[in-house]
Amino acid sequence: MAKNGRLTTAVFCLFLAGLLIWHAALPDRARSETENRTLAQFPQFSWENLKDGSFTAGMEDYFADQFPLRDDWTGLKARCEQLLGKRSFHDVYLCGNTLISRVEEPDDAQVKKNLSYVNEFAGMADGQVLLGLIPSAAEVWKDRLPAGAPSFDQPAFLEKAAEETGLPAVDLLGALAAHAGEPIYYRTDHHWTSLGAFYGANALLNALGKEPLKEDDFTPQIASTDFNGTLYSTSGVHWLTPDTIEYWVPEDGLRVTTWKSGKAEPGQLYDRSYLEHKDKYSSFLGGNQPLCVIQNPEITDGSKLLLIRDSYSDSLAPFLARRFSEVHLIDLRYYHASPAEYMAEQGIDTVVVLYSVANFISDRNLVYLGR
């Protein structure tokens, strides 16, 4: 028994002390690619900080964020939970080889406000205004969700939005649902794939009375076969096959201008430097930016389109550039001037407010629509 006591004691002490020493010895990381955020650093010490508890709270964050092998521990937890029968990991459902993000019930007040901002904008804008709400995989692929799994009723919301705004809706749900059997969403990311964006583009072109695109006209290029997206990060499920990113629309001929740095600079349709990092989806148009314009000199009818959008439009816009001489993209997270004025200045007569359902119901930046 005494021998047993010593072994157990040794194992216990070595485990705790070992991780403590490893933690202290490991250099601090500034950022986590997997989690896409900066990691807490050692907090500043002062008597005030100690008294009001911010020093100790900072220590707790620092301790957790700089823990050795942080990403591997989270993968282990997800595996254990999966073995116990759990199917939802940090609000992401595991459905075989696919991760589907759960859409939460929104704050009704925010939804009402957002719809009212759209109405205000429709009143101010001088031209055709459409509302496009992109359903997520939780709706289009709802047969893949675990039986009975709760998720927000997206079709009901789409109907309500159409009623409350009275704007012509773009039937994205119909377009995507018709192709539900195809890989129209990524398996490890919440965005739609280029194939999904293609169908979305056609739904939009249909609503705008333009000629749809033909699948045969494209030769998709494989940009990466090692894409682990946002849902890979959120859920902690790290064992699924990575996604493939395709570029459909050829870059040559199109001219991209980006306001990423705050002033107009030449941009790229596909910023391949992002393919070296985890966040590969941002290679479409180079990721987050307040304003971006794609010009297609081959189209000479002077047609211009404005998209007030979220990140789904990054993979959509290249398709639209095949039918419009200019496609303007405004992201209200970063662009806070008046979109209506922008439209008037640029002589744009067609605008689509195009958001994914999940973003639209929770976005706080739509207030800028009404400016």
Partner: protein, 480 residues
């Protein structure tokens, strides 16, 4: 998460240190144990006191003062009681004074807002709430210090001359935050002298790991099911089945959470050389409500029996007095758990059932088959948890209305929750019985010698994974 038994009120940025946290497991604990065993024996109480004060002050340093005040009050009163032992009336006065001071501290910080809100309902009276954050563990340490003065008076233990040792008794971090409530006489001898062996340390380490696993792997997981069902209630989608499933989840959560904490406390006590009393004895295997309360939160019921029930006269002064005394004890038991009417109701719920069992149902129950007795007990106990779980009585009422037929019977979501949590619930049910312990004891000793450290290590690894993921916080750039 803040949990009822710990009575935390966490303000922004102020987080007490929890056992089930990374800074504790891989910072405070290894460092404290190292220092404790490195110093000579005579300094160990001091080390214990200082490290416990650091533990206590983590996140809420101001309240170390309250702890210090409580220590001073009872240290001096213990000495005074012993000094004036020959003058009984004076000694009793000092006991009473210590109790008044301790209860005032407790009453002020924990119950002021409750009294203010309820008294203000009387027309003409308007007392404002103070919104004071609750000093951690105040419900536990005030009861412990009160037990000291009374034990000294009753001559169950000599007064502690060293304020360091007395301070160590009060602040001892293993049991400071969530018990067990350690009566002074139980550790009086060990405060002065304790033995430390590898096998005691190992037993403590194993016990600690079991408690950690119960809390982190089981209690926290099933707690998510309770949260989901409660959310369904406010969304209006709760079903009858879902309502009871939620209550079952809560009942398991609170048992594994609380008994897990007690296991960790007892385990750490063993590592340091102390023997704390057991706090739980497989309560869900009880065959009557009376038996349940001999198995649940034993240190609290013992405290109330020794220091409230027996001084009031116990059962020695006739039926009316007995019922009155039991009523007072159960009112206080409920009230001790929280400054809210649902806790009082919960205490009185048990008062009613205990009285029924004592005076009416005893023979009837003994004639029933065992499974029916267990079923009846669990029904009464878990229904009680439903009241305990919801402080807002309107929400509580609505929840129970759904449970008793106010909603649909079953929905697809219930099927989902069953698949997601079914195995966990089965593990919890088995873990609530003696089967695991019996199965373990049936293994040959050599197998246990090998398996023990292996399972402990596996438990520590998986718990660490769960704790690291608890802080897993990816920035969802697409939703802000």
């Amino acid at each position: 998460m803040a949990f009822k038994y710990n009575n935390f009120t966490e303000k922004e940025g102020e987080q007490p240190m929890r056992f089930s946290s990374l800074p504790f497991l891989f910072g405070f604990l290894p460092i404290t144990l190292t220092v404790y065993f490195a110093v000579p024996t005579r300094w160990r109480n001091l080390v214990l006191l200082l490290t416990s004060l650091i533990f206590y002050g983590w996140g809420e340093p101001v309240y170390i003062g309250i702890m210090g005040l409580s220590i001073l009050i009872d240290y001096t009163h213990g000495m005074l009681v012993e000094k004036y032992r020959s003058r009984d009336k004076l000694a009793r006065w000092f006991v009473a004074e210590s109790m008044i001071l301790n209860l005032s501290l407790l009453g002020f910080f924990k119950y002021w807002d409750f009294f203010a809100a309820n008294l203000s309902l009387i027309p003409g009276i308007s007392i404002s709430a103070l919104g004071l954050p609750l000093p951690i563990g105040i419900s536990f340490f005030t009861f412990q210090t009160m037990s000291y003065t009374i034990d000294v008076y009753r001559q169950d233990a000599p007064a502690q001359r060293s304020i360091v040792s007395f301070g160590a008794y009060v602040t001892m971090f293993p049991q400071l935050v969530a018990g067990p409530i350690v009566r002074y006489k139980d550790v009086a001898a060990e405060l002065i002298q304790r033995t430390n062996t590898a096998s005691a340390f190992a037993a403590g380490a194993r016990r600690f790991t079991v408690g950690l696993a119960k809390k982190v792997l089981l209690a926290n997981s099933i707690g998510a099911l309770w949260d989901a069902e409660l959310a369904a209630q406010s969304a209006g989608t709760l079903t009858v089945f879902g309502g009871w499933l939620g209550i079952a989840a809560y009942g398991f959560q609170i048992y594994f959470d609380f008994s897990g904490y007690s296991d960790m406390a007892i385990g750490m006590g063993q590592m340091l050389g102390f023997h704390f009393p057991e706090n739980f004895d497989y309560p869900y295997t009880a065959a009557s409500v009376t038996e349940f309360w001999r198995r649940w939160h034993i240190s609290l019921t013992t405290w109330f029996r020794e220091y409230l029930y027996i001084p009031l006269g116990g059962s020695r002064k006739g039926t009316w007095r007995t019922v009155r005394n039991i009523f007072i004890v159960w009112f206080c038991t409920g009230f001790w758990h929280g400054a809210s009417w649902n806790f009082i109701l919960w205490g009185l719920h048990f008062f009613v059932w205990l009285m029924l069992e004592k005076y009416l149902l005893r023979e009837f129950l003994q004639k029933l088959p065992m499974w029916l007795r267990h079923g009846y007990t669990l029904l009464v106990v878990f229904a009680g948890w439903g009241v305990f779980a919801m402080e807002d009585l309107t929400v509580c009422g609505q929840y129970f209305r759904t449970c008793f037929g106010g909603g649909t019977l079953w929905s697809a979501a219930d099927g989902y929750y069953l698949t997601a949590y079914g195995l966990t619930l089965a593990i919890l049910a088995v873990g609530s019985t003696h089967w695991v312990k019996n199965g373990w004891n049936r293994l040959p000793e050599r197998a246990r010698d090998v398996l023990g450290p292996v399972l402990m290590l596996a438990g520590l690894v998986v718990c660490t994974a769960y704790l690291v993921d608890g802080s897993y916080n990816p920035f969802l750039y697409f939703r802000f």
